[in-house]
């Protein structure tokens, strides 16, 4: 059975995931998202993968969340608070979620992974580096291309072309 740390982490993670979507203020939503990401990092630590956990915190919390937070702050204040949304749609969404969760959960609980544990030592993080550079090296190159493409594209998108004519009314 799960231990206390695990339970606490899962409560934090799932709770803040719900909060990220449901809190009225987008800023608090972003903070809650950080909670989720941090919780996932905690799971990674539980799973003996500190490299991924630290990568998760450094990249996800340290940069992606910052970017999200900053972008949220760029948005006008009244828009940070969302409009009241369609009730029916919300219930439909909750229904979909429940169906999905229950369905998937039962599928998983039904399957053979129910009682898998392991006593083998965890993978050393150096193996990951070795993986990167030997087996996955084309993927690493592609990764660089992705990063290059995304930074190029994002900068070209986010810059202003013509300051005078930029604010275009709807």
């Amino acid at each position: 059975m799960a231990d206390a740390v695990f339970l606490a982490l899962s409560v934090i993670t799932i709770g803040s995931a719900i909060a990220a979507l449901e809190l009225r203020s987008l800023i608090y939503g972003s903070i809650a998202l950080m909670g989720t990401l941090g919780g996932i990092a905690g799971f990674f630590l539980l799973l003996d993968s500190p490299f991924v956990a630290m990568f998760q915190i450094a990249v996800y919390v340290g940069s992606i969340a910052v970017l999200i937070l900053f972008t949220v702050m760029l948005v006008k204040r009244e828009l940070i608070f969302k409009k009241i949304e369609d009730k029916r749609r919300k219930f439909a969404g909750i229904g979909l979620m429940l169906v999905l969760m229950v369905g998937l959960g039962s599928v998983i609980l039904d399957s053979g992974i129910k009682s898998i544990t392991t006593d083998e030592p965890a993978v050393d993080f150096r193996d990951i580096g070795a993986d990167f550079l030997t087996y996955y090296w084309p993927a690493l190159i592609l990764m660089a291309l992705i990063l290059a493409g995304s930074v190029t594209g994002a900068l070209v998108l986010a810059r202003r072309e013509d300051v005078g004519n930029e604010q275009r009314a709807n």
Partner: protein, 494 residues
């Protein structure tokens, strides 16, 4: 072990280098350079790449199809086939953009992103590892998010990009989830080992395996435009810049099929009973809804988008019957190639119309046949080909698809219905294609001819030759398809 001269690596080298260097060149030219300069470079790079692929085919350096390797990439005929299709689409896009991007900012980045996306599309077809496939998939997707929103002044472009981005991100997230489950079940990300893993799967894990298949179908389905996952597609195709729509409709969509064939059809062939029916139902739904919705459209781009959804349905027929009929998957691949050319040509034609006349509404296309004769001719031929009118190439691929469906009827009792649905839908599609032709040629008063963009004309002529010639003499391409298509034996059952 991957050789350094294997096709995917060479394509990465050529296109990647050019794609990365193009923005640098634009810095060196202080961003004042004209569009054509970068277009020519990109075009040359694409031609060189397609030449290299063809050279590899000719010199028979290519491995037989669907041979899985120990590496993340394999230089096989299946990948080569898709590489040729994707590169043709990319060439179409580049040439079509030549005119479209004339007045726009940042042409260098535009072409660079097209090249990067092309690498991604090609590599999706070549990859034999789930991680590699995922990375290539993202390399294909992320530049297209930017490209779809490249017209920053245009609200619809931005909206299209935003919707496309959100659903694209969702699709990739779902794919990662699927990959994670299949990785968990089989203990490896290499597709070859995944196949082995699945064939020796403990029955208690079967539900999870099905879950992963479902997630893969959903994830790829978002890109392919299958019906429950198609809601972003018309908006994006309408709003995005037309050359990019070409890339999306003819390129990334086909990459989705490539990935689906790699992973679902081949990788999870052991589970075929479970997904064939699902694919069949999705196929019928997709083609029906796509074609019916296409009839109701007033906008040419949007209509073609729905028609593209319909065609995804046709292609899916082949995938659905693939385990039971080798003709099915051949038909799919044949249709993929044909559809890439046909749809590419159609969208490039639309792009030409948009840039010269600034209309996309069907009602305003009256008399187009006299105003832009070559473009309209190309459009008409591609529409006819799309509808599957006999002397054109679309006919043969559809014939193969439906034939494959009938062929599989011995194993699958419901397979003939797929063929019937396909034929009915083709007839239905002929209706709205015909309506466009009527608008173009038989309505409206005579108007002066406007000068058509040369790049569009080039694409039109090439594609017309392609469609007509291969329609009249389809033998070589069928041989090529047969060589490239993976053989999945009828005998393989769980």
């Amino acid at each position: 072990m991957l050789e350094i001269s294997s096709t995917p690596l060479v394509i990465i080298a050529i296109l990647g280098t050019i794609g990365v260097i193009l923005p640098i060149i634009s810095i060196a030219r202080k961003e004042t350079g004209s569009n054509s300069f970068y277009a020519v470079i990109a075009f040359a790079a694409l031609i060189v790449s397609i030449g290299y692929v063809a050279y590899q085919f000719v010199t028979e350096h290519v491995l037989p199809s669907a041979l899985f390797s120990e590496d993340v990439l394999v230089d096989d005929a299946f990948g080569g086939f898709f590489a040729i299709a994707m590169l043709i689409v990319a060439i179409f896009t580049t040439v079509g953009s030549f005119n479209y991007m004339r007045k726009q900012n940042h042409p260098a980045v535009y072409y660079s992103l097209i090249l990067l996306s092309t690498i991604g599309m090609v590599l999706v077809a070549y990859s034999t590892d789930l991680v590699m496939l995922f990375v290539a998939w993202e390399l294909m997707s992320i530049p297209t998010y930017v490209l779809a929103g490249f017209m920053k002044r245009n609200p619809s472009s931005n909206e299209a990009a935003l919707k496309y981005f959100l659903f694209g991100a969702l699709s990739s997230a779902i794919i990662v989830y699927g990959i994670s489950i299949s990785y968990g079940l089989t203990g490896s990300t290499n597709i070859g080992e995944v196949i082995q893993g699945y064939s020796t799967l403990d029955p208690s894990f079967l539900p999870l395996a099905l879950l992963s298949v479902g997630l893969f179908i959903a994830g790829f389905g978002f890109k392919m435009g299958l019906v429950p996952f198609h809601m972003w597609l018309p908006d994006t195709y309408e709003g995005a810049p037309t050359p990019i729509t070409t890339l999306l409709a003819a390129g990334t969509k086909k990459a989705g099929f490539a990935a689906a064939i790699r992973i679902i059809i081949l990788g999870m062939v052991a589970l075929n009973l479970d997904w064939t029916l699902a694919l069949g139902i999705i196929a019928v739904m997709t083609m029906t809804i796509g074609n019916i919705a296409a009839i109701m459209q007033k906008n040419l781009a949007r209509m073609l988008a729905y028609s593209s959804i319909g065609h995804a349905g046709y292609i899916l027929i082949g995938l659905a019957v693939a385990p039971f009929s080798s003709m099915g998957i051949q038909g799919s691949m044949y249709h993929i190639l044909n559809h890439a050319v046909m749809k590419g040509a159609a969208f490039i034609a639309v792009g030409g119309i948009v840039t010269t006349l600034a209309v996309t509404n069907l009602d305003k296309l009256k008399g187009l046949g006299r105003r832009m004769p070559i473009t309209s001719l190309g459009l008409v031929i591609s529409l006819l080909a799309l509808a599957g009118v006999p002397p054109l190439n679309g006919f043969w691929s559809k014939l193969m698809l439906f034939g494959g469906a009938l062929d599989a009827s011995s194993s699958l009792s419901w397979a003939p219905w797929l063929a019937i649905a396909g034929v009915l839908n083709s007839a239905l599609s002929l209706a709205y294609y015909g309506w466009i032709m009527r608008k173009m040629y038989f309505e409206g008063e005579t108007e002066k001819r406007v000068s058509e963009p040369k790049s569009v004309i080039a694409v039109m002529i090439f594609s017309m030759i392609f469609m007509v010639a291969l329609g009249v003499y389809p033998d070589p391409i069928i041989k090529f398809v047969e060589m490239a298509s993976p053989t999945i034996g009828l005998g393989i059952t769980p």
